[in-house]
Amino acid sequence: MSAPPPLLSVERLTMRFGGLLAIDDLSLDVAARKITGVIGPNGAGKTTFFNCLTGFYKPTVGSVRLNHPQRGVLRLEQLASHQVARSAQVVRTFQNIRLFPQMTVLENLIVAQHNALQHASRFSLAGLLGLPGYRRAEAAAMDKAVGWLQRLGLLDKADTAAGALPYGMQRRIEIARALCVDPLLLCLDEPAAGLNPRESSELNELLKHLASVEGIAILLIEHDMSVVMNVSDHICVLNYGRKIAEGTPADIQKDPNVIKAYLGEEDADELRADEMRTDAPTDPEAVR
């Protein structure tokens, strides 16, 4: 934990679905410009945690504060999901990719810039008339989209329907689309699921670049340990909705609680840290 105040601080977050306690009293800080990994066995409450952060669920108890550099402290748990992306600039991707499949890749990225463009089109009036102000905004949106497509190596697919592309590419498009919203905090839900080793090492490079160069904080749910351990500055481990460990990747790999959660009581002695890697590729959640 460094000195500057965290970008996002989650305090005593609890999410209850009837009798099921999906998240139990979770507190977590996410630092700006850093990558924070969230790991845990299936059903540990990781995606529920994301849903609570991004306004898709209203947490039962607890607060989520975002220190926005321009807008001050925002209480994310009180915002609707579209406001979380729009005002707080917290943008997420989905475990089961959610693109706009019939629209082209470029259109997907332009839709992500809807609010800026809609404002520039003055509720479509300036747009209908084709006024220069709107044209400029559209050209700027196009430039931004093309810039990210180039960075992610998708430029030659710009005019292809997003749903027609292979899985790994769709994952990257979803990230590119999220980046077009200008996120302060990017929440990635299993971005490496279904990627081949080469693609996931490219993903590592991208995530590091985003955090260190672009200054985007990243919250990362991932089962692929080669990604999480490699890129994360800080890791939080969940099990049954409760935080069981937190620290640097090196700490986590040695933590007895984590080892127990992943492999069960008996096998714990035999575990060495690098064995955790075998968990990822066959994970059933990865194909969801």
Partner: protein
């Protein structure tokens, strides 16, 4: 019965024979009581007679028919697979607008402009063409809601009715003219769209369809029962016809009329042709408006909502507002069409705004290919002209109509034109759009 299910793999001749035999056996079982045995009236008493030869023919026809059907299905499937295999090898990405479609679009425009000149003496043709254009306009309006935003609206006719009645009341009660009433009627219809949309847009798919269906009926029933406002089942009569920039289409009198102003011989055809060009202009404006909107952020947001609402929310798009705008704009266009309808008929009653109309407009959008502007034109042509052409077939014409719809859906499940044109491209002329 398993043999009766259409098998996925293609079948050998022996399998086909076995399958047909099974069908023939079932036909025999069903046929014995229904065809094989019959009652005859013999001297006041009913006696059972047998018709074995007829039964044999029936079973034989079933056997042969099934054999042929199986064979045809297998052939079709094989051809489809072959086509798919060759399609995979061919590059399918980045296909630009087919020049044929653009050509068809311009040709349709040219024909529609020239039509009244070609058939100036044939009132029936121009009248029917006007009806087609009303449906084209309604189809383009509903296309915003169903085709672009993906909200299934089964009560679209309600907005058509709101537009028609707004004009009917404004003109008969307050003496408003067509052009004055047009924008207001559009605005009223749009507010009804928002009124319907506000409480219902949290519903999805089938549920939204049921609510909109109910809304359409509510409007119709209000019109039937609120006699003081709407005239009830008697409707509103003697609605003024639109004038040509203040010049009415009337026999020569004291005031200048269209015919006297231009020094023409008075003819009732003038009004028919004028109405035709009026709806053509309104429809073209609608088309221009909708296709322009589609390329604006709001239009892309409509399509994005259709594709994935949750992803839209995650991108910061206010899904409710986007859906409401689609509803309001669709309703407004429906209202415009309603104003024209009232002005053309001169008489409106709730009879004209039944669920049947909603169903036909929806069928136009779906058959045309959701979201396709030209598809709507083609589908309106089919759906309006088929019943007209089928008048000779009297009671069979609705059967024909239904069969045509089923055939189109089998032949083109995505509608007549299902190709979606991107709203903007990266690679058009080297870089910029």
């Amino acid at each position: 019965m398993a043999a009766l299910v259409l098998a996925q793999h293609s079948t050998s001749p022996a399998e086909r024979l076995k399958d047909a035999a099974a069908v023939a056996f079932i036909a025999l079982l069903l046929g014995i009581p229904m065809i094989g045995l019959t009652t005859v009236d013999q001297g006041g008493a009913l006696r059972i007679a047998t018709r074995w030869p007829t039964l044999c023919i029936f079973v034989g026809v079933c056997f042969a028919g099934r054999l042929l059907l199986r064979y045809a299905i297998d052939r079709l499937r094989a051809r489809k697979q072959a086509r798919e295999r060759s399609a995979v090898s061919a590059p399918t990405v980045d296909q630009a607008t087919s020049p044929l479609l653009t050509w068809i679009g311009w040709a349709a425009l040219g024909i529609s402009v020239a039509l009244p000149m070609l058939f100036s003496e044939n009132r029936y043709v121009v009248d029917t063409a006007t009806t087609v254009l009303i449906y084209v306009m309604l189809g383009w309006g509903l296309n915003v809601v169903v085709g672009l935003a993906g909200l299934l609206d089964l009560g679209y006719v309600a907005f058509y009715a709101v537009g028609a009645y707004t004009y009917g009341l404004l003109s008969t009660q307050f003496g408003w003219g067509f052009w004055q009433a047009l924008p207001l009627a559009g605005a009223v219809a749009a507010s009804f769209g928002i009124l319907l949309g506000w409480p219902t847009l949290r519903l999805r798919g089938d549920y939204l369809a049921i609510v909109t269906l109910g809304f359409g009926e509510i409007i119709r029933i209000i019109l039937v029962n609120w006699t003081e406002l709407s005239g009830g089942p008697n409707g509103i009569a003697s609605i003024p016809r639109p004038s040509f920039f203040g010049l009415p289409f009337k026999p020569p009198g004291d005031d200048p009329t269209f015919a006297s102003f231009f020094g023409l011989e008075f003819s009732t055809n003038h009004r028919i042709v004028f109405l035709y060009y009026l709806i053509l202009a309104l429809a073209l404006l609608t088309n221009l408006f909708v296709s322009r909107m589609r390329k604006l952020p709001i239009g892309r947001a409509w399509e994005a909502i259709r594709e994935d609402e949750i992803a839209c929310k995650a991108m910061g798009i206010n899904a409710r507002n986007v859906k409401l705008s689609a509803f309001a704009i669709g309703a407004m266009l429906g209202g415009f069409a309603g104003v024209f309808f009232a002005a053309r008929q001169g008489f409106i009653s709730p009879e004209s705004f039944t669920f049947n109309e909603s169903a036909i407009i929806l069928a136009i959008v779906v058959l045309g290919g959701m979201g396709s502007q030209l598809g709507v034109v083609l589908a309106s042509l089919v759906l309006v002209l088929l019943p007209e052409l089928g008048r000779d077939f009297a009671e069979y014409r609705m059967l024909l109509f239904g069969a045509a719809m089923i055939l189109i859906m089998i032949w083109k499940p995505g509608g007549i034109l299902s190709h979606r044109e991107p709203t903007l491209r990266y690679r058009a002329d080297g870089g910029r759009r």
